[in-house]
């Protein structure tokens, strides 16, 4: 079963009340599946958007991307750099 580290940043870290969460997910789980697990594990994460911007191993991905063992999934609030 793949181990995935979920990271929260900026406003999402404040809303979730934490900066990271370690999860064990089913084989062939997608980013969307991991997000569903996050909502189960962290009640405060229920207020996060349904389709947040996500990055897998430092690259933006869509919700149907597959996660693998050791992956880092980041939930990114709307970007406002520059």
């Amino acid at each position: 079963m793949p181990n995935v580290t979920v990271r929260f940043f900026a406003r999402y870290a404040e809303l979730a009340g934490r900066e990271s969460l370690a999860l064990v997910v089913p084989p062939a789980a997608t980013v969307a599946d991991v997000l569903a697990r996050v909502r189960q594990e962290i009640p405060d994460a229920a207020v996060l958007p349904d389709r947040p911007l996500t990055a897998l191993n430092l690259r933006q991905v869509k919700l149907d991307a597959r996660v693998q063992d050791g992956d880092e999934l980041a939930l990114l609030p709307p970007l406002s750099g520059g």
Binding site: V47, P77, P78, G81, G82
Partner: protein, 145 residues
Amino acid sequence: MMDYLTRNPISVESLLREVQSPERGGTCIFLGTVRGNDDVTGIDYSAYDAMALAEITRILDEAHQRWTGARVMLQHRLGLVSLGEASIGIAAAAPHRDEAFAACRYVIEEVKTRLPVWKKELHADGTTTWVDPTGKQVAGGLRDR
């Protein structure tokens, strides 16, 4: 080579030193500075550092592949940046001005859509607001701007 992310003021001279050379006859500098809207006294910048560094590397590589004679460098501030100070500096030098302008423009536009960096506005009354360029209503009854 200089750091892409810094907690110190951005030095235009340092950026220029990274890109200028005798064969590059056109140089552009872009600075993004903290605007004095409403009662904002400064902006606190935070980042997903590892991804920001990876994205900057990718964006600069893309610019160098697209404008092969150009050399582009950028620095983004993190932490508290006061009104009027630069939060980002980009220098682009190329043999001719067209490539310098184009490469500089490319890099700032890609930064805006790809760099995992967030702004928290600090207000005169001590409150703070996360900036949301999408302007959408967010959870918890709070509204980002």
